[in-house]
Symmetry: C2
Subunit: 346 residues, 2 copies
């Protein structure tokens, strides 16, 4: 696949950049095709009785941002088919992610994901718990197939952290005293960690030196932070048709995400009390009023500033390595996310 | 710890043997103490926020039969403290087992296990799903700390099989057409597999040759089959105080275990129809009537024959290796299980 010269040779300005991740992913078509073939082949590793269930979860309609991070961090700049080690690592991080989605949907009693029934709805919560477990187990089995135990060590450690982030968030649902530090800690664990390890594995398996591997890992971590804050912002400022989910779900489920933390800080006392009653589940949330208050108190700008700060840190991490092939496409990914956040305000 | 000479030097006759596993475990005291110390030390690997939750799950009151299989299969016959590799492997299989228990209790909406609240009841089902995941992830992380990836490969493969067995059982709940082959397949996956890998790891890490390792694995597999059939039999013929759970739970939850399969076969058509209505959940089960029918049609003998057959196969697997140190204590374990089954009839 010939990569478009304009985006590999020069970093495009963020203003006016592509409004979604499509251009970044366009260059990854051979990589994603190889990932698809690899993931399909994994079905044979599952016992016949659960092959259809596993197949159902290996849905290829997701964003596959973690595999993209593996491929881009290991980018050799020559094009051609991806190295088998990168494909395997991409499959590992995607399977870990898919397993967490299967379990998340149980927690949220979610009916739909990506426009079709969740595994939970289709096979029942009991089977979905175990199916998520089987996906986790297979991800670690693939990780153990590398020549050294390093991938398995990194991925199992990361998986525990992702689960811990989700546990902390779950235990703090409906709590009204969540702090910004609590929020930062949860997104560090539940999102930034697997982004970090995806970049680390890509750079390491792509044969880059320790300095760049550490820089790529920090890029991934900061991108993960930016991505999660963007996602939490889109829950209030997105368009339902575009982000593919109902707005205001975090408010309804009592999760104090950053937009709500900013709103809590900026509201006068009486209105704040009403907001906290909604978080605590003492009465149903009035989303229209909360959205109007968010506009009035310019919550968007404050949250956007946090996204920009994480994106800037992500790019700073890469700066000393600008000459390496992975850096232009990774920067392009950061720019694409910056543009996506900008598009939310429009 | 001096091992009692009588049980290591000669295989005790099964009739009149010890009524429980206590004598076998008595010789494992230093091993189990080392395992406890090792498991407690693992708490430091969990993030501070979930350390108490993980601690709650590292309950030491369980039977720890899988760690026992690791230690006995790697038995060097000299006494002394256990090899660190055996302790680590024992911790891995126990953590996998504890994680499956946490998830099983969610499925069964179980309030109590081993006389105290389940993780599900204590932390809520959402946190319990994720806590089980974190325990799995840590088990695989420990497995990845061995010098080669073999342990991680074996344990992740085994974990997937255990989950698959549970999924198949879950999807077939309330089905009235479950066959003996279906039952055999489920117990092979959900129980025999982790018993098999426990023995395999013990023998391998204990430094035994491939022939004995394969024999120990087959012993573990057959012992697992025997153990699960015993457990299913105890659900009807046990004493509640002794087995620590309510009788008839399989019947109530619509699981056609071997005692019920035998009863289904032996009942006249009209009574069979009533049993199948109970399995299907069309009306509440009458446990007293079912127990009376089981006695009338001598279900115990048929199920006991299946246990004895698996135990005989377990011992046959070891026969060519009678001179090796692990063989006497492994045989003793099989004998202890044989005695436990016999005690159910009494």
């Amino acid at each position: 696949m010939p990569a478009p010269a304009a985006v590999t040779s020069n970093r495009p300005a963020s203003a006016g950049a592509a409004p979604d991740l499509a251009p970044v992913f366009a260059r990854l078509r051979p990589q994603m095709a190889a990932l698809d073939v690899f993931l399909r082949a994994q079905l044979a590793a599952f016992e016949p009785e659960i092959r259809d269930l596993a197949d159902y979860c290996l849905d290829s309609s997701g964003k596959r941002i973690r595999p993209a991070l593996v491929f881009l961090s290991g980018w050799n700049g020559t094009g051609g088919p991806p190295a088998p080690a990168l494909v395997r690592a991409a499959a590992v991080v995607e399977l870990v992610h898919l397993a967490t989605l299967v379990h998340d949907d149980i927690m949220d009693a979610a009916d739909l994901r990506r426009g079709r029934g969740t595994a939970m709805r289709r096979f029942g919560p009991e089977a979905a718990v175990l199916l998520g477990d089987a996906l986790f187990a297979h991800a670690l089995n693939l990780a153990a197939q590398f020549p050294t135990a390093e991938v398995c060590l990194l991925v199992s450690d990361s998986t525990r952290k992702v689960c811990t982030g989700e546990i902390v968030q779950t235990l703090r649902r409906r709590a009204t005293d969540v702090t910004r530090a609590d929020y930062d800690r949860v997104i560090e664990l539940k999102t930034a960690e697997l982004f970090r390890v995806s970049c680390l594995l890509g750079a390491r398996l792509g044969g880059f030196a320790a300095e760049f591997t550490a820089a790529a890992a920090e890029f991934g971590r900061q991108l993960g932070i930016a991505y999660q804050i963007y996602d939490d912002l889109a829950d209030f400022f997105g368009e339902e048709t575009r982000i593919g989910k109902t707005l205001g779900t975090d408010l309804r489920s009592g999760k104090l995400t950053l937009p709500l933390l900013v709103l809590r800080e900026r509201l006068p006392a009486d209105e704040r009390a009403t907001l906290l009653d909604e978080i605590a589940g003492r009465h149903a949330p009035d989303l229209a009023v909360r959205l109007a208050q968010m506009r009035e108190h310019d919550v968007f700008s404050a949250v956007n500033a946090a996204v920009q700060s994480a994106l800037a840190a992500a790019e700073t991490a890469l700066a000393p390595h600008a000459a390496l092939p992975p850096v232009p496409p990774l920067r392009e990914l950061a720019d694409a996310l910056r543009a996506q956040v900008g598009a939310l305000r429009a």
